[in-house]
């Protein structure tokens, strides 16, 4: 349970939490990602020091060289699983965490790097690196929940910092976070934003995308491009048919669904229905827990 977690940041200066500290412990972990969701925690400028008073930030490499060994009350996990070492590390983190919350599109849906799931095996590594043999990386980028049990998933690319504070507060209080699962479309209706899809024929994923951003794109006259992934209930075929009727090519509709949440089931299915390539997970028979690495 308190076994050090692989050779990752901060482990060189780890100590145990003093028994006298009554505060709950919070750990922040990174996998394949851009750091933007962790940054959202540091972007809570008004709340950061109060949060650090209320919880013991026990492991957060981006912020501190000090770290304490687990178990942790709450772990926030950013990023997707793209190496077999990371597939092992997330299991250790799960074992050391009472509650595990994933944050962001990488952790909840594989992220933009999940586009490799649709490519031919080894194609990406050969494109970027002169010596593919130096690189140890899986053919897939997968969400955390495909590897371990997750207590709550917070969506977004990036996550919204106010939602993050709600999730931390609720999780520490032992209640379910209050995070809306309806669509960006409903958010626009509530705000009285004129519908871009209907009035201007602009391609918009608002009808099928989870709210959380505050319907930012339509307010700047831009169609939603799906940062928060699928809403709780979606009708992607209906939206796709509408876009096709407006004259959008199938390949463009498929591409619209294939960005930061390309492997989220509702988006994945529709991108395939529009002629996009199958993901590697649907091309091979069920394999072992640790798929072979590309090298």
């Amino acid at each position: 349970m308190t076994e050090p977690i692989a050779s990752r940041p901060g482990d060189d200066v780890s100590t145990s939490a003093p028994d006298s500290d009554p505060r709950p412990t919070l750990a922040v972990w990174k996998f394949a990602s851009c750091d933007g969701c962790q940054l959202s925690l540091l972007d809570c400028e008004d709340e950061l020091l109060s949060l650090a008073d209320a919880v013991h930030i026990a492991h957060f490499t981006e912020m501190s060289r000090a770290t304490i060994t687990g178990p942790y009350d709450v772990s926030l996990v950013e990023g997707s699983i793209t190496t077999s070492a990371d597939a092992r590390r997330i299991r250790q983190i799960r074992d050391s965490s009472r509650r595990l919350v994933t944050i962001g599109a990488c952790a909840t849906a594989g992220g933009i790097q999940g586009l490799r799931n649709f490519a031919a095996s080894g194609e990406y590594v050969r494109t970027v690196y002169a010596h593919p043999e130096y690189i140890s990386s899986l053919d897939t980028s997968t969400p955390i929940a495909e590897h371990v049990e997750v207590d709550f998933e917070l969506h977004g690319c990036p996550i919204d910092r106010h939602q993050l504070l709600e999730v931390i507060t609720a999780t520490l209080a032992g209640r379910r976070p209050v995070i809306a699962g309806h669509s960006v479309c409903q958010e626009c209706k509530g705000r009285g934003t004129v519908c871009l899809l209907v009035s201007e024929g602009i391609a918009c994923l608002g009808p099928v995308t989870r709210t959380g951003c505050g319907a930012l794109c339509p307010t700047v006259g831009r169609g939603c491009f799906g940062c928060f992934g699928p809403a709780e209930t979606t009708n992607t075929p209906s939206l796709a048919a509408h876009l096709r009727r407006q004259g959008m090519a199938a390949v463009d509709v498929s591409r619209l669904f294939r960005t930061f949440n390309a492997s989220a089931p509702a988006f994945l299915d529709e991108s395939v229905a529009q002629g996009g390539s199958l993901p590697v997970t649907r091309r091979v028979a069920f394999g072992a827990d640790d798929p072979e690495e590309v090298s």
Binding site: S7, P9, D12, F31, C34, G36, T127, L216, R222
Partner: protein, 434 residues
């Protein structure tokens, strides 16, 4: 490997903290001499140059923003510049000024983050800013206030602080309304005052006496401190277009790193970032930033890497000052964006990310589909120089005990604000003594 009677002294940091992304450091010392240093990058690769192939040229700003959550605007701006270059267009002055305002917001946010939350704790012997706040809450709150203002600028112009949504190839989706930009003026005045206090604060830190031998590379942009555009220039006389520069940069793939190492003309390593920009563009600082640099005792060229925190603070004054003047003179661009017609060809875009020069190069076809992509982030370009610094700093501090030497080595890496997420597409610090 061991050929003496004693094993080597090895100082290692398995995971480097207070940097963006994942890496480690290793220094091997034998008989009081640093034998080998390595900055290892184990951030898993994310294959951006591969996943961009087949995408539409208008998608590059939003996709490449996801390389780095700390400097997404830098990625968006370099991508836009490259695509506009490919299409043979130049944006008008009002779009250019709005881009510079947005970019200043990112510099303010990123520099305040690095100075107060990532770097200052090293100089004051604190593990992190939370410990620092227990000693000097006023200082940390000042840093957070500046950072908040940077985010406010990005939210106002870009719609969101992390991965802004309002940027498009050719300009912006919507020009922010004048009242919202005017509302930035007061917070920016306060942030500029706080930035001036920051320069005084960091100038009072104790700096190890280290002199680097740097080949500086930064953009130059007429009489302005280059940020969102410019021509690559070096301290030894290079002055080329972004496309010519891209041809000169050779990237090597080495076993210990998922980041590629960049060399210029296949020769010596070089350094981009605040020290380089200050050395090459120092005379173009705003009067207030130049005065602050003078009061802080900075000479026209600063070669002590530990003093990069002072230079970064001077740039913080500059960014606040620039943003303030851009906000005061704001005229909404009309139209907010040019409509681009793709044409087959190659385009290059170079801008100054907070931590150094970032260039993108793309080939697109006549229908606007990306055929290949090349993205060279500042940390890839700086990695060899960061290792050279590490060797020098470790050798100079060789008499320190292991724990202190380890910390000094970490600090040496943090001097350059490396972004591992960007570079791996970064670093593992291990120190070995004898």
């Amino acid at each position: 490997m061991t050929h003496g009677s004693h094993p080597p002294r090895v100082i290692s940091v398995e995971g480097l903290s207070r940097v963006e992304g994942e890496g480690s450091l290793r220094v091997e010392v034998r008989d009081g001499t640093v034998m080998d240093v390595a900055l290892e990058i184990f951030e898993p690769p994310r294959y951006f140059e591969a996943l961009l192939v087949g995408r539409h040229f208008t998608e590059a700003p939003d996709i490449t923003a996801r390389i780095c959550g700390i400097c997404p605007v830098a990625y968006q701006m370099s991508a836009c510049a490259a695509m506009e270059d490919a299409c043979g267009v130049t944006v008008d002055e009002h779009v250019g000024r709005l881009r510079r305002l947005l970019y200043c917001g990112e510099w303010i946010q990123s520099h305040a983050l690095h100075i107060y939350l990532l770097h200052a704790p090293d100089f004051l012997g604190c593990a992190d800013a939370v410990e620092l706040a227990q000693r000097d809450r006023v200082a940390v709150e000042r840093g957070l206030q500046i950072k908040r203002t940077g985010n406010l600028v990005m939210e106002t112009v870009g719609g969101r602080a992390v991965h802004p949504v309002n940027v498009r190839v050719g300009g912006f989706y919507r020009a922010p309304d004048p009242a919202s930009v005017r509302a930035l003026i007061e917070p920016l005045r306060r942030a500029r005052d706080a930035a001036l206090t920051t320069v005084e604060w960091v100038a009072g830190f104790e700096f190890p006496d280290v002199t680097g031998d740097y080949r500086f590379v930064a953009l130059r942009d007429g009489d302005r401190y280059a940020i969102e555009r410019g021509r690559p220039a070096s301290s030894d006389g290079l002055d080329v277009s972004p496309a010519e520069f891209a041809d000169l940069v050779v990237e090597e793939h080495v076993a210990r790193s998922t980041a590629l190492h960049a060399r210029l003309e296949g020769k010596d390593p070089y350094l981009t970032g605040p020290l380089a920009r200050y050395a090459l563009n120092g005379e173009k600082l705003s009067p207030m930033a130049a005065e602050a640099a003078g009061r802080a005792g900075l000479s026209p060229v600063c070669t002590n890497p530990f003093q990069s925190i002072v230079v970064r603070a001077v740039e913080l004054v500059l960014a606040c000052d620039e943003a303030l003047s851009l906000a005061e003179s704001y005229t909404p661009p009309d139209p907010p964006a040019l409509t681009l017609t793709p044409r087959a060809g190659v385009g290059t875009g170079a801008t100054e990310a907070p931590r150094g020069l970032l260039f993108h190069q793309y080939e697109i076809d006549g229908s606007g589909i990306i055929r290949w992509a090349r993205i060279v982030p500042p940390t890839s370009q700086n990695q060899l120089t960061i290792e050279a610094d590490l060797r020098r700093v470790a050798q100079d501090a060789i008499e320190l005990g292991d724990d202190e030497l380890r910390w000094r080595c970490e600090q040496s890496v943090r001097n350059h604000d490396p972004c591992i997420s960007c570079a791996a597409h970064f670093l593992d610090i291990k120190v070995v003594p004898s």
